[in-house]
């Protein structure tokens, strides 16, 4: 499904991603953890197609090269990135935005567009999933939303877009306990054999709700370690010091499934 090989990204000559390799199979959920500034969001944006990076290496989705595509074409190809910092768009109605987004990708794929009335049902289902109040649909996109509300709005968008690959960048940050559960169960509801997910997080707690198939540690723009969900527990206890120093102390918890 997603195949990333030796991906590098730099900004103004400063390397941020330094040869990232990752394969995500259909239906799999991968977690990426790593210290602040290690390049997690940069990776998400490199997949989404943000301007301003010098990019090298390969990233393909179902064999299709993503790196030469515009962001909207990547969305049409099935890429969805939930932003760590969702953007406020004053004056653009959330419902109109969602329908425009969905119909844009449908049009790009040669599918028929969905009318306003039918879309209401689509939106309602997505709203129920994230337990969002209806008035959010009638407000401007993220404008004045609280931090947690913005994150829920990202999941709402994912539910409407039904992407093939979802990359969720710290969607759990800033959520209260109930919201975390709601967002996690929303994510779980959207898990499917056809859909792959990359969940970027700092907290092991999210991974208790969303059991990932693999956990990767991203340090200095590279994946330095990979394992199963127990790797997250190890990180919770020990932090990243081991990986930053590029050596592993004897773990108190066994590193089952670790790739090193």
């Amino acid at each position: 499904m997603l195949h990333v090989a030796n991906l590098t990204a730099s900004i103004g000559g400063t390397p941020i991603l330094r040869g990232l390799d990752l394969d995500v199979g259909a239906g799999e959920v991968h977690a990426i953890m790593g210290p602040n500034g290690s390049g997690k969001s940069t990776f998400a944006h490199a997949l989404a197609g943000r301007d301003g990076y010098e990019i090298d290496g390969a990233a393909t989705l179902d064999g299709v090269d993503l790196l030469d595509m515009e962001p909207e074409a990547r969305a049409a190809a099935g890429v969805f990135v939930g932003f760590q910092y969702p953007v406020e768009i004053p004056g653009v109605n959330n419902m109109y935005f969602l329908r425009t987004a969905l119909n844009s990708v449908r049009r790009a794929r040669g599918e028929t567009e969905i009318g306003a009335r039918d879309f209401l049902a689509v939106a309602q289902e997505a709203m129920d999933l994230v337990e969002m109040k209806k008035d959010f649909l009638h407000r401007a996109v993220n404008a004045g939303f609280s931090g947690g509300e913005k994150k829920r709005n990202e999941i709402l968008q994912m539910a409407v877009m039904q992407p093939r690959l979802a990359v969720l960048d710290e969607t759990d940050s800033g959520l209260d306990i109930d919201a975390l559960r709601i967002v996690a169960s929303g994510v779980n509801a959207l898990r499917s054999p056809e859909r792959s997910m990359i969940v970027i997080t700092h907290y092991q707690r999210l991974l208790e709700y969303i059991k990932p198939d693999f956990v990767h540690v991203l340090v200095d723009g590279r994946i330095v370690n990979s394992g199963d969900h127990t790797l997250a527990l190890h990180l919770e206890d020990h932090g990243y010091a081991d990986f930053v120093n590029h050596e592993l102390d004897a773990p108190e918890r066994p590193l089952s499934g670790a790739a090193t």
């Binding site: 909207e72 969805f80 953007v87 425009t100």
Partner: protein, 402 residues
């Protein structure tokens, strides 16, 4: 050619004149003026498609003369006098409200003088005391440059009696692509506690010049809601001079200018407070593409004795090209006590983060851009109270109802 040389003491404006700083002086010098020319058969075809379809009286003025063929003056409600300005001026029983407003200092210019000389016809609207009119009155001005003079002059005089209310839409168009333009002057008098919604839609061809003035005198407790859409013309100028002369009057002026190509769209707004406890709001938005220029020159003039004034002014500009420019100039003069006065101006570009965010949701760049421009412009479009006008503006801007 019956061009009138600028008569003394008024001179053609120059670049040194603050209010004419960004005007294309070469083009202004090529405008020629003369007495109104008969309009019969000037309009090539129906103008219905070019104007909002309003449900109410319609008066169409072609080259400064009312054209009965296109006008609809059949369903005039009681308490409304709607006629040609020429008829009203000729009728001794009609107290035509002073065309000149001596209280508005410093605003006179040569084009106003030319309008006074040649803009003898046009529309006259008089709403009787206590009369509340439901249907909007539509005044359409069409300029068709001809050989004798390429610029038409039109006068519009509006008087609202005490406690009356009305809605008036003025649409300004050009009937050919030839160089020339129109010079319109609207004089509005609002008696005590009357309420007027006044909308100007300026959509002249991009080969022409529009010089529009609106002069308002507001008496005690009256309220004006003025909306302007400055969209067409190579140079589109809308000047408002509002004099708050009676205590507790309220004026709310807002507008959108949306330029492309080589247009210059100029708003010259002055609110003069001379009475106590009046409020004024100015809120103008500009969207400027290509090599277009926007001008907002906004004055708040609080004269001695206008205590308790509450005045605000905002101007926000969105530049869609790096060759477009916005010129914004507040003029504040406050000579009274207990005055609340706020003003602010912004000039920005499309938010690159918002563009990116929309595109990651599959929305193509061109659509994303349109969405963001609409969101910016909509602040001005959204609060148009008349559906047909809102639809007309949206169609004109290519922005569908969201």
């Amino acid at each position: 050619m019956t061009t009138v040389a600028p008569t003394s003491p008024i001179e053609y404006p120059t670049r040194h004149d603050e209010r004419w700083r960004y005007a294309p002086h070469d083009l202004l010098g090529r405008l020629s003026f003369g007495p109104p020319s008969a309009s019969a058969d000037k309009i090539p075809g129906p103008i219905g498609a070019q104007i909002p379809a309003l449900d109410g009286p319609l008066i169409v003025i072609v080259n400064g003369v009312v054209d009965e063929r296109w006008s609809n003056l059949t369903a005039i409600p009681d308490g409304l006098r709607l006629s040609t300005l020429a008829d009203a001026s000729a009728d001794p029983a009609v107290p035509v409200v002073a065309h000149f407003n001596p209280d508005v200092d410093g605003a006179a210019d040569v084009f106003m003088a030319l309008n006074t000389t040649f803009g003898v016809d046009g529309a006259f609207v008089d709403v009787a005391e206590g009369q509340k009119l439901d249907a909007p009155i539509h005044i359409v001005d069409v300029a068709i440059p001809d050989e004798t003079s390429n610029t038409s002059c039109t006068g519009v005089v509006i008087h609202l009696g005490a406690d009356s209310s009305a809605t008036i839409v003025e649409t300004r168009l050009g009937g050919s692509e030839a160089f020339g333009g129109s010079n319109t002057r609207t004089t509005i008098t609002l008696d005590d506690h009357s309420t007027l919604e006044h909308i100007v839609l300026q959509d002249m061809p991009s080969t022409q010049v529009h010089l529009g003035r609106v002069e308002v005198t507001q008496h005690a407790g009256s309220a004006l809601r003025a909306r302007s859409f400055n969209l067409g013309a190579i140079y589109g100028r809308l000047a408002y001079d509002v004099h708050l002369a009676g205590a507790g009057a309220h004026t709310d002026l807002s507008g959108l200018y949306y330029g492309a190509g080589e247009q210059t769209l100029d708003q010259q707004i002055t609110v003069i407070h001379t009475a106590k406890d009046c409020t004024s709001r100015q809120s103008y938005r500009g969207v400027l593409d290509d090599e277009s220029a926007g001008v907002f020159n906004g004055g708040i003039d609080v004269r001695p004795g206008a205590d308790g004034t509450d005045a605000e002014q905002h101007n926000d500009n969105l530049l869609l090209s790096n060759r477009a420019e916005a010129n914004t100039q507040p003029r504040l003069e406050i000579l009274a006590d207990d005055v609340a006065c706020k003003h602010g101006a912004t000039v920005g570009q499309l938010d690159a983060n918002a563009m990116y965010y929309l595109r990651t949701r599959g929305i193509p760049a061109a659509d994303a851009r349109r969405l963001l421009v609409n969101a910016f412009a909509d602040q001005a479009v959204d609060d148009i109270g008349i559906d047909a006008v809102r639809t007309w503006v949206r169609d004109r801007l290519g922005t569908p109802d969201a």
